[in-house]
Subunit: 345 residues, 4 copies
């Protein structure tokens, strides 16, 4: 298959290139960029020299139709809403890494994203690409709304408990921490090295766009899920997300019971690893890989459950999960191009 | 006054030296160390060369009595329990930076610290040194149990809300993040650079020694406070603590009301700064200083309050607050040796 | 004295504020900014809240004349060249932290800075503010060209050897490493966190503006000094410079002889510390302080001397040395506001 | 082929596991450890869970002979000297990542390593595994002395110039910078996070074990090479080495000429990339990959050449080059298991 990447000069695009280089069924990768048309990709990413020496093309529907069979949109808000319909009509698969098509409610979208939502029919066609829990639908889809980085870590960590009805649905609090790569490649004061090293920040308190995405999916699993408190923080590191999640248990339970439930839920999932008792994951233990590692515990003293979920935000939280969905859509083995071992140290 | 530092080669000791260098009423500092007796302090801390060129002495009660008027214990668990009584009897003030004397209940101490508690009378004599809320007692004390780093950030952040009775006392969750200096100077796998950089970790889940300290003080303010969930994390940075605290509000409130309440509570406190609406503190903004900066918000959507409190764990969370207490005990101006501006960037 | 800071919102300006806060003879600090007039300084620097709560003023010569007795220019290239003459005429001392007035040759300036040099008479009036070696002239000056960060570390490290004529003057190579704060507060791709953490870069090879500054001063000490090779590198840290300097010795010598020579040269200097045999300085050992720490060795095997010099680029490399010069100009004790202990860890 | 790793719990061992996981001709990997026999590898390296779930075995020659066809020694000094002969006799290939067998002169070894050298015949049998320049010999070898991390970066950077006779052989100076992973997994004060972050250090001045290794190989290329000055530094990052190398050119040359010479020298090398004019490599641009990227320039002003060479010390500087040699020894395609794209950011 020939695949295209729109927004190839961002971090999502670069990571797609890193991973797709090893995909046995991808014969060609075409790079599109609106801002850097004509530039060779290794000029902006010297690490790709001798591996990808190709020019960035301007995007037109005509060229796209001729050149590629599937396209990854690693683009800012608005691009997918504008282009996806035409691309689909040209019979090309679309995996959208932006947030444009994730929310079912156009009203909710415009409240949180502060911009107009995509067209209703486009939103309806889009399948939410949380691979582990939506595989069936993804396998038949032409258009994927690839999950956000925080929602991926959060939802994989909460799914078994919410689906089993074991927690107070009014009690969910998510304290999330991310490396800076999630903020993209554009330089800003927020992620300026001198302002970020030896520093730990909280940001977008009560206002992060990923809140409605998390709530929407949780309510798919149990419609009684209440509002969720979610606060994101910025860690002085480049890659990695940890979501620490707090819930009140509906009843007493043993650690073992809790763990077995998670192990059962993810028994056949190659990319979700449940940690043994007393062990909790650190972000580096999934560095560069498509894994989501989960640790959990029930505290009899407080009656609360704490779930800790870590991912590499650029892989499982973006490019990796996108390729995982691409594999499912096309009937390829799900782990293709994704089996790399975490880089440690 | 002549002051002694026991445990001068640890980070707490080094920070006391940094700050006390500018104290107008401290005429002499004597350094004690059990492990490095005879060594000159600048051999283990070259940054102190030409500033402190003095040998570490072995500790004996006799020498202590002759040499100093007040002593800071920056020591591992057990040292204070063993030595404080004798030191007090020699008519010397004691500010204990260890956790030995913080918990009123010997039983609770042994449960969380996994060792026997100090003698009952010693614990009773010790005054908990959370300066902003215990100034009166501290001013009359001879023996201070200096608060832990996490409790300092947490308690200063929670005090007004708990005292005013505005939150559900069963709902308190503290997600805390610290730099590595809190783990001390001894090398370990946990804080090995190659294992810690580009990494974010959670540790001592449900088991951190600071949990009972936090609960004890909260119950001083309102005896109905329930168990608190507290999870500490390790950030790839050296200095700084952020405590992100979650509570359910008992009733609706405006942001303004909440903020005014905090501003009133800390109106006369030189080291507590309440951030204006929409602004939350980052750890670097108190780097190297004795400030505790607090941001807060009420989310009408979820009915929850989020309070964010940051300190420099080595200053306000240890050596700085110890000197603050030393000043109060001796009737000095409270900010003496502590007025340094945060170092930024 | 009343002092003004022009360019108060940059890192140099912020550091001047941090240090001047403790200066006993500075009664008032007035902040000027062309880009952020009217803003309160703590809005852009929340760490200064409650310490400096003052508005940034637009700069006019009239107001300056009335308001201040001395002014620090922490400004981009060109500002000093434009304003210094008028400020001097209003009888106000000027300490210029920019590079505008450091080079005696206007031609050399324009070659390296790629812009026109300041007026000849202004350059002539400016005294190069390498305090330790130019104290006499500084004490009589009205206008100081404060040295660059790299030249400060380099020149203090090379001075004794060059002045004593012990090294081959054709053999000097300086491999310099700096934290990111030297690049200023403006966000850029170069210092974007995601591009800089876990990364080590070389930049401006053979072209750094500090090369002619280093050569000019070395030739003041020995006019036979040849061109110097100087390559700067960017370290994933915020503060600190290390200059590793290589020279061929003219004759064999003992380590002891070399060290004694340096100790003698800096015997009366409070801010230069020579390390004992076998010990070399790390940048953190001068963090936040005005020290320059120097380690050195002669290798009989190769016949080469290696000198290692470290400073905090924001203090001794900028704001600290500027205040040191300000003190000398006004007959104050040289260490006023500069005696803070390095922050470690 | 079945391969064994001795010292599997160190960083070199872990990286071999990461890379070998994708080697098409490696059917089995057996892990040996003297200190952690019986432990499952994922207990000490949770990142390997579900990928490598195998126990560490004690090493005996009998088991080795039966179990593996080739063995990687990722061990401390002395192990290879002790075991290699027996392993070879069991007809097993040996790739030794330690420094035991790199130096031809036993006397030089004991001078720099401060321990007795391996047996003469073992040293003679060992082939120095700098793949790009020793491929022929490696292809026939049974025993490889895999190059040190610093020598790899340095020698690849110097080879063309020294072989072409273009530089003054008395003038070579190497200023090298490394991340902390080169110091191994054992916790120490030197690499303690609180002592290393926001810090830049120089170490083992004039005494690093890699000096004689560099000089020996350079003299293979030109026996007139004089002693080399080499100073290593420690950067606050985990992975990456940059060697900045300084030499006096024998004659004037153009940048273009210099670059073309390097391009020609490495024209057929998949893992050496020469940067275009004006571009110099940063360590992150080879992160996690087997590349060595080289930038270079001639400065007409000083008559000196500066060469900048970067590698990932754990890959090209250790495990990657070891596998590259393993491939050459066995007639496999040289890039097998090594074609991963650098991870950026």
């Amino acid at each position: 298959m020939r695949v295209g990447i729109i927004g190839a000069t961002g971090y999502g695009g670069a990571e797609l290139l890193r991973l797709l280089n090893h995909h046995p069924h991808v014969t060609d990768v075409v790079l599109y960029s609106s801002s850097k048309e004509g530039m060779n990709i290794h000029e902006t990413y010297p690490h790709l020299a001798t591996i990808y020496e190709k020019s960035l093309k301007a995007l037109t529907i005509e060229s796209l139709t001729e050149e590629v069979d599937a396209v990854f949109l690693a683009t800012p808000p608005g691009v997918s809403a504008e282009w996806s319909k035409a691309i689909l009509q040209s019979n090309c698969q679309v995996i959208d890494l932006s947030g444009d098509l994730r929310l079912n409610s156009r009203k909710t979208y415009s409240e949180w994203y502060k911009r107009e939502a995509a067209a209703e029919d486009l939103i309806e066609e889009a399948v939410y690409g949380l691979t582990e829990w939506n595989r069936e639908q993804i396998s038949k889809a032409k258009l994927i709304a690839n999950p956000g980085c925080y929602p991926t870590a959060t939802l994989l960590g909460l799914a078994p408990l919410v689906k089993e009805g074991l927690v107070d649905l009014h009690s969910i609090i998510v304290d999330a921490k991310s490396g800076t790569s999630g903020a993209g490649r554009s330089a800003s004061m927020m992620t300026h090295y001198s302002e970020m090293n030896e520093n730990f920040k909280i940001y977008q308190i009560n206002q992060h766009k990923h809140v409605p995405e998390i709530e929407q999916q949780l309510r798919e699993w149990d419609r009684n899920v209440d509002t969720v408190t979610f606060q994101p923080h910025l860690v002085p590191m480049v890659r990695g997300i940890m979501a620490t999640m707090y819930m009140t248990a509906k009843r007493e339970m043993s650690e073992k019971e809790l763990r077995e439930m998670y192990k059962a839920a993810y028994a056949h999932e190659p990319f979700v690893r449940i940690r043994p008792e007393g062990q909790f994951p650190a972000t580096k233990e999934v560095y560069g890989s498509n894994f989501c590692d989960i640790g959990l515990t029930y505290d009899a003293r407080t009656g609360r459950i704490t779930v800790v979920s870590v991912i590499d935000n650029v892989v499982k939280g973006a490019a990796g999960q996108a390729i995982q969905n691409f594999n499912v859509m096309n009937g390829f083995e799900e782990g293709m191009a994704l089996m790399n071992v975490p880089m440690y140290p």
